[in-house]
């Protein structure tokens, strides 16, 4: 498929750099520092050490026999990103960017967070690397992911509630960018997904690609063949591209990205950008965007804060148009059902985000043959969501 993005950060027509001029040179500096670090074996060695000794990588690839038995059809494997330190894949990226921030001599790190997993991972890495940390989080998300707010504060981070807009991830990103544009000389913006202006989508993908490199090796070792299909949920798209990337050249491997279907198909009821959105420019990049006819960004809804966002990483938009990845969605209701099924069959309470991927597995596995292998990215654990699930079950 060639090398993407191009030198200007474009994935086909998507991606690029759509930010105020004040941020343009800082983005150039960031790209230069990152490319230099990527070539530096010392940087890679240090990152590998932290991924191993601190986060616990490689994460296991668990064969989910009881789930497979219940569904019938394909044999399901779970890539256990939930077993990372801090409980989600987000730390892969935070360790990489945290080391980069240090290397660039920045003392202050800011981040946005939706589900709080990226905020927790950022606060964790900042504690470890002795960096000052401030996290922007929508007030609606602070309510529904309260546990993670406590965790961030325990870790020494300052959490700023954002009360504008729908008080979710998009609004947190706006506030983080406003902070960055003001304090750009001293501050490193540690973005949590494959979003925003170049080089972020490329860099975050590179740091998350460890998921797929491990999974590919693990499945070949265990089964001696490649999987039939990979499944992952798509918020910004970092856990999905992280799993998919190492398999993109394997033409026989199908891939499915699962967006948040929310509670209905009308604008405002979901976060399914590929079925309900159209190309546009939001927060630094050109990709699919949920918007009204006037180009005003639509509100979104999902039971999971981490998927509740109006746009999606530009590389996903490109791979979708290429037909390389299929995108679908799972509703709140299907997601809850999947979370319960996985809990009872495998003894794993997953994050609501990841349960969207499991919901697609429930639809897909029965349609495949027994010898087909299905790998699903279990991007995070569900402790943060227990109260939301309990409330949904009782109401």
């Amino acid at each position: 498929m060639g090398q993407y993005p191009d030198s200007r950060g474009h994935f086909g027509p998507y991606g690029g750099k759509f930010v105020p001029e004040t941020l343009m040179h800082p983005l150039e500096e960031l790209e230069e520092a990152y490319l230099e670090a990527r070539r530096d074996p010392g940087f890679q060695t240090e990152l590998d050490r932290l991924l191993r000794d601190y986060s616990g990588r490689p994460t296991p690839l668990s064969r989910a026999d009881r789930l497979s038995g219940q569904l019938g059809g394909a044999r399901v494997y779970l890539k256990r990103e939930d077993l990372n330190h801090t409980g989600a894949h987000k730390i892969n990226n935070c360790l990489g960017q945290g080391l980069l921030a240090k290397r660039m001599g920045k003392e202050r790190v800011i981040a946005e967070t939706g589900a709080g997993q990226h905020g927790v991972a950022t606060a964790t890495v900042c504690a470890l690397l002795d960096l000052e940390c401030e996290v922007y989080m929508g007030e609606e998300d602070m309510r529904r992911q309260e546990l993670n707010v406590f965790r961030m504060r325990l870790l020494g981070a300052r959490v700023h509630g954002v009360s504008s807009g729908s008080q979710t991830l998009k609004d947190a990103i706006n506030e983080a960018i406003r902070d960055w544009v003001t304090n750009v000389r001293s501050t490193y913006y540690l973005i949590g997904s494959v979003l925003s202006a170049h080089p972020y989508p490329m860099m975050v993908r590179d740091f998350q690609a460890v998921i797929g490199r491990e999974a590919r090796e693990q499945i070949l070792e265990r089964e001696g063949r490649l999987p039939h299909t990979l499944v992952a949920c798509v918020g910004g798209g970092s856990n999905a591209i992280g799993l998919f990337h190492a398999f993109l050249e394997d033409e026989t491997v199908a891939m499915v990205g699962v967006e948040a279907g929310g509670r209905g198909s009308n604008l405002g009821e979901h976060a399914a950008r590929f079925s309900g959105g159209k190309p546009g420019i939001l927060q630094g990049t050109y990709s699919y965007v949920l918007q009204d006819e006037d180009g005003q960004i639509a509100n979104t809804h999902s039971i999971s804060a981490g998927l509740d966002y109006a746009s999606v990483g530009p590389e996903h938009a490109f791979l979708r148009d290429q037909g390389r990845i299929r995108y679908t969605s799972a509703t709140d209701e299907e997601t809850l059902e999947a979370l319960h099924l996985l809990s009872r069959t495998e003894g794993i309470v997953s994050a609501l985000e990841s349960a969207h991927a499991v919901a697609e597995v429930m639809r897909l596995a029965p349609r495949l043959r027994e010898e087909d292998l299905l790998v699903v990215n279990l991007s995070g654990r569900g402790d943060k969501d227990v109260q939301t699930v309990a409330a949904a079950d009782s109401g």
Binding site: F18, T22, I281, Q283, Y286
Partner: protein, 263 residues
């Protein structure tokens, strides 16, 4: 040459700096924002920036964010904004610069918008989140329509970037006085002087300074170094303080006279 270039030529000949206020279209409602524009012209505005509200104004501080919310809450659409521009053009020849984020303009259809805007009497565009790197296509459209393209230069811009910004700009260059979002400030930053010098070394285009300019002293300070002073949040803040007043537009006009004249 558009009305913008002619205005700067004339101001230069008269040996004075240009006064460039900003208003958000549709704030607090379409009709009132139109009256504010006319009052600003009467108060001596040399060029007026018309903001097209966008739901996610990430380069703006709280004052302009709230103006955006007021306009969108009333159901502002770009089509209405263009109709207002056509109406204003029948009453005034003051240069008008459309100011926004890229998405609402892109969603309208950029080529269709450029043609419509020119026809209704807009003189140029400034798109905050359109970097020169992404501007080749839009620039061609603007030039094809006979519109000026104004780009931002920032304190963080390198000489190389400023060279490109100058090549892509017509009408004037907008120098951002400091790193940060829009918003009134007590004093102007010292960064702006070196930025103006960097711009001068690359181009003879007029330079207007904005971000934080909010008091008569600031305007005089800016005019001693640059061809124009942009006042955004201070004007919008004046609109906000006078919400609900029947003579809101006249009060904004009075505020503009005070800013410009310092008395």
């Amino acid at each position: 040459m558009t009305r913008i270039g002619k205005m700067f030529d004339q101001a230069r000949q008269q040996g004075r700096g240009a006064f460039i206020p900003y208003v958000t279209l549709g704030d607090p409602d379409l009709e009132t924002s139109g009256r504010v524009v006319l009052e600003l012209e009467a108060a001596g505005a040399d060029l007026i920036e018309l903001g097209v509200p966008f739901s996610d104004p990430l380069a703006d501080g709280p004052v302009i964010q709230r103006a955006t919310e007021r306009a969108l809450a009333r159901g502002f659409t770009l089509e209405q904004g263009l109709a207002l521009v056509a109406d204003l053009r029948r009453r005034t020849q003051v240069p008008l610069l459309l100011f926004s984020y890229y998405n609402p303009l892109f969603a309208y259809g950029f080529e269709r918008l450029a043609a419509a805007a020119k026809q209704r009497g807009i003189d140029g565009f400034l798109i905050t989140d359109l970097s020169v790197e992404e501007a080749d296509g839009p620039l061609q459209v603007l030039r094809g329509a006979g519109l000026d393209s104004v780009f931002l230069a920032a304190p963080t811009s390198t000489d190389e970037r400023i060279r490109k910004i100058a090549a892509y700009s017509s009408g004037f260059i907008y120098a951002v006085s400091r790193t940060g979002v829009t918003g009134a400030r007590k004093s102007l930053s010292d960064e702006v002087q070196s930025l103006i010098q960097k711009i001068r070394s690359q181009t003879s285009l007029p330079v207007a300074v904005g971000f934080g300019v909010s008091e008569p002293d600031h305007l005089r300070q800016v005019w001693s170094q640059a061809e124009g002073a942009v006042v955004g949040s201070a004007i919008v803040g004046c609109i906000e303080r006078n919400l609900g007043q029947p003579d809101l537009a006249e009060r904004v006009g009075g505020f503009a006279r005070w800013l410009k004249g310092g008395c």
